[in-house]
Symmetry: C2
Subunit: 412 residues, 2 copies
DNA sequence: CACTATTTGTTCAGCGATTGAATTATTTGG
DNA sequence: CCAAATAATTCAATCGCTGAACAAATAGTG
């Protein structure tokens, strides 16, 4: 890993078309309203002739379709609007978590075309068993997608833990997994999707990362850089910089739960002391609210807290204020370091956002140097608990949009 | 600022050559030993014919020269090694700090060809006055460069503060600057260099950012991602990810000095409490070591502390241990968040590294989840106090290497 | 209703850059 | 001295973009 900046592969003759396919498709995807070929030519600086040729490739590859006459006023031949095809490739998103499995299918345009959640406590089951159930769920999702005329172009699996490049789950504490080689365990099943352009048929990634991508995907007009915090039993963060997920040197970025917020404070199971998780993790909040022994399923605990807080329970309000302050201390550090202007409260934090937001904002305005010039926005996530599954499917779709050549080569 | 990922400009016909110029030049720059045209063809996948054509452009543009016969063994026509030209374009690096001005010139190959430091307390002077002195220093640097056959292709100025896109210094607390429009103040002087490819003749950037780039530049075989910490009166950090500087949404990333390390601890001039700067900043270390009133020049304070620590002064050792622990707490949070595997102690921390390193490492191993699998390296910076000036010059050189077409168009 | 202005999208010759094979250049080894 | 081997160049072919001309389709105008 030496420092060879920008060493992209050489640009061969055909790469030109590959790159322009991506450029044009990216513009179509990012546009507010269906652009015409002429619009695209003006935006990109390419000739109308070139854009026409590129668009023709995209249309025959079923990535783009012509929309109804665009609402363009004025004289002249009416433009034909271009939109992402709703019946071409789609992404399969899977999620495996402590007490549920989920599968969903998202089409190119970003619409969720299929969604199933299977509730079950997975901790007693072996990884192989859990994955077998997941394959079953995925099979049904694929059947539904096929029935709708969609073709799955890849799959991504969200796991609540650290995943290495090979797709092995190195550590998923709440699931009780350690060094689980997901791809080889899945090899006994028929492949979920075909490999496209060298990308394996199933990509495994961290839940917090994919949830952040889901948020990016669900709100195309939102900011291009933000911090997405998933508050579950552990606290994970997905860092989106300039529209792309930042994964860190080894893909293990975002462990915000173990940022120290009180250096010699409560001992943490990670071995350190005073980690954020001990103050703003789900268990810590429940304990502070006097609900320690309630043993609620992970995904209902947040809803329950929100309900109690809404009815004005004093100890719950106090617990949330304390958690929000701890969260704010950690977030202030992150914002100082990365200069982000948006923080999204996701996962279990989303329903609690009304109570967490004020203390988080207070700490930010106290501690962030640049907050005076440009304020930091703190808002709840748009997607709910299934953000990771949707984000996983969206990551597949996004890969097609940023590199359409692979799909086109496959589709013929 | 909407989320339009990877919306690079379209790829026009001529971009092909532009991109391949960058690819080939980048390989030559990154190579361990002078590569031949055939090596480059094999590495990049381009044809030997194409590589020859590209290399010819680079040679006539004075970016590359043929080295002495390469030490290649075996039969066949001997290869002609290609190296970065030492007599073509060069970068001018400038630095303005509390008690000195610096100018240096770095050639394409990365050698420092000129270096001047002018010591003077700049706080009493107006920004315009300080900049006038800097222009004088820069003029002499340029004269020296010209005498050596070099052509300045751009300049960069390092400032200890926050700089916006336009080059205005929004806030440089230790210099006492606020909203200083550097480019327009410099407009009264003749331009230091010509504009190349739309980049203004002088780029203003944060000192910590440029120092990190200097480190990247000084150690080409080092890691591609690291955190570089400049410990001066304030504490700044430069974040290098994958060989590129990460600047944040607005270019104000790296304010590590105000990460909370003891949330309700000592009040900080930023308005917060318990900021790292209050525990590991130069003033804090001096105070803890019982040297508060010494009023040392900023750049000798570190040397003095190192000297005292080397001779075993107990209170200095204690102060450094305490500072190192605070630094370690903050760094652990950063490493958890960004998953970096290398931390470089730069600026005033470099000479103190022998004493700071152990407590920093201790906090990291306590608090970083992934430290067990892949250890985090903490090491002193290679460059000394002038890292920022060298890094500034290096940033100019780096821009030429990553985008040679601009220079070639200018050179004709 | 005919006519013009206007904008969109396509067609086509031209051109620049890459390609692949053939050719030349230069050295080692027998 | 000759064959083998490797490096670099030459050159016709090809691929994709360019620019201009052209066809298509509509709104406005008298």
């Amino acid at each position: 890993m030496t420092s060879t900046p920008g060493l992209v592969g050489a640009v061969r003759q055909g790469s030109l078309r590959e790159l322009n396919l991506a450029v044009v498709l990216g513009r179509i995807a990012a546009a507010e309203r269906p652009p015409s070929r002429a619009d695209l030519a003006a935006e990109t600086g390419l000739t109308r002739a070139t854009v026409s040729a590129v668009v023709e490739d995209l249309i025959t590859g079923r990535l783009v379709t012509e929309a109804d006459p665009a609402p363009r006023s004025g004289a002249g031949r009416p433009a034909r609007g271009l939109v992402l095809a709703g019946d071409g490739p789609a992404g399969l998103g899977l999620e495996i978590n402590v007490d549920y499995l989920a599968a969903c299918v998202v089409d190119l345009a970003g619409r969720v075309r299929h969604h199933t959640v299977h509730r079950a406590d997975l901790r007693p089951h072996s990884p192989a068993d859990a994955l077998a159930r997941l394959v079953d769920l995925a099979g049904r999702a694929r059947a539904d997608a096929t029935a709708q005329g969609l073709t799955l172009a890849g799959a991504a699996l969200a796991v609540p833990g650290l995943v290495d490049d090979a797709g092995t789950v190195r550590l998923a504490p709440n699931l009780g997994w350690r060094d689980v080689p997901v791809p080889s365990l899945l090899a006994v099943h028929p492949p979920l999707t075909d490999a496209v352009d060298g990308v394996p048929p199933l990509v495994v990634d961290n839940e917090a990362n994919l949830a952040a991508l889901g948020e990016l995907h669900a709100d195309p007009d939102g900011p291009a850089s933000f911090l997405h915090i998933s508050g579950e039993v552990g606290i994970g963060a997905g860092i989106v910089l300039d529209g792309a997920l930042f994964r860190g040197a080894r893909g293990w970025s975002g462990e915000i739960g173990h940022i120290p917020v009180s250096p010699e404070g409560r001992p943490c199971r990670c071995g350190g002391r005073g980690c954020l998780e001990q103050y703003a993790g789900q268990e810590a909040i429940l304990a502070a609210a006097g609900l320690a022994g309630a043993d609620l399923p992970a995904d209902t605990a947040a809803a329950r807290l929100a309900e109690l807080a809404g009815s004005g329970a004093a100890d719950v309000l106090g617990a949330l204020r304390e958690a929000g302050t701890a969260l704010g201390v950690a977030v202030a550090g992150v914002v100082n370091l990365l200069d982000l202007d948006t923080v999204v409260l996701g996962g279990g934090y989303a329903p609690l956002a009304p109570w967490l937001r004020p203390p988080v904002l207070a700490e930010i305005s106290r501690r962030v140097l640049t907050a005076a010039w440009s304020p930091v926005t703190v808002r709840p996530a748009v997607l709910g608990a299934d953000a990771a599954a949707v984000g996983a499917a969206g990551s597949v779709v996004r890969r097609i949009i940023t590199r359409p050549a692979g799909w086109l080569a496959r589709a013929g």
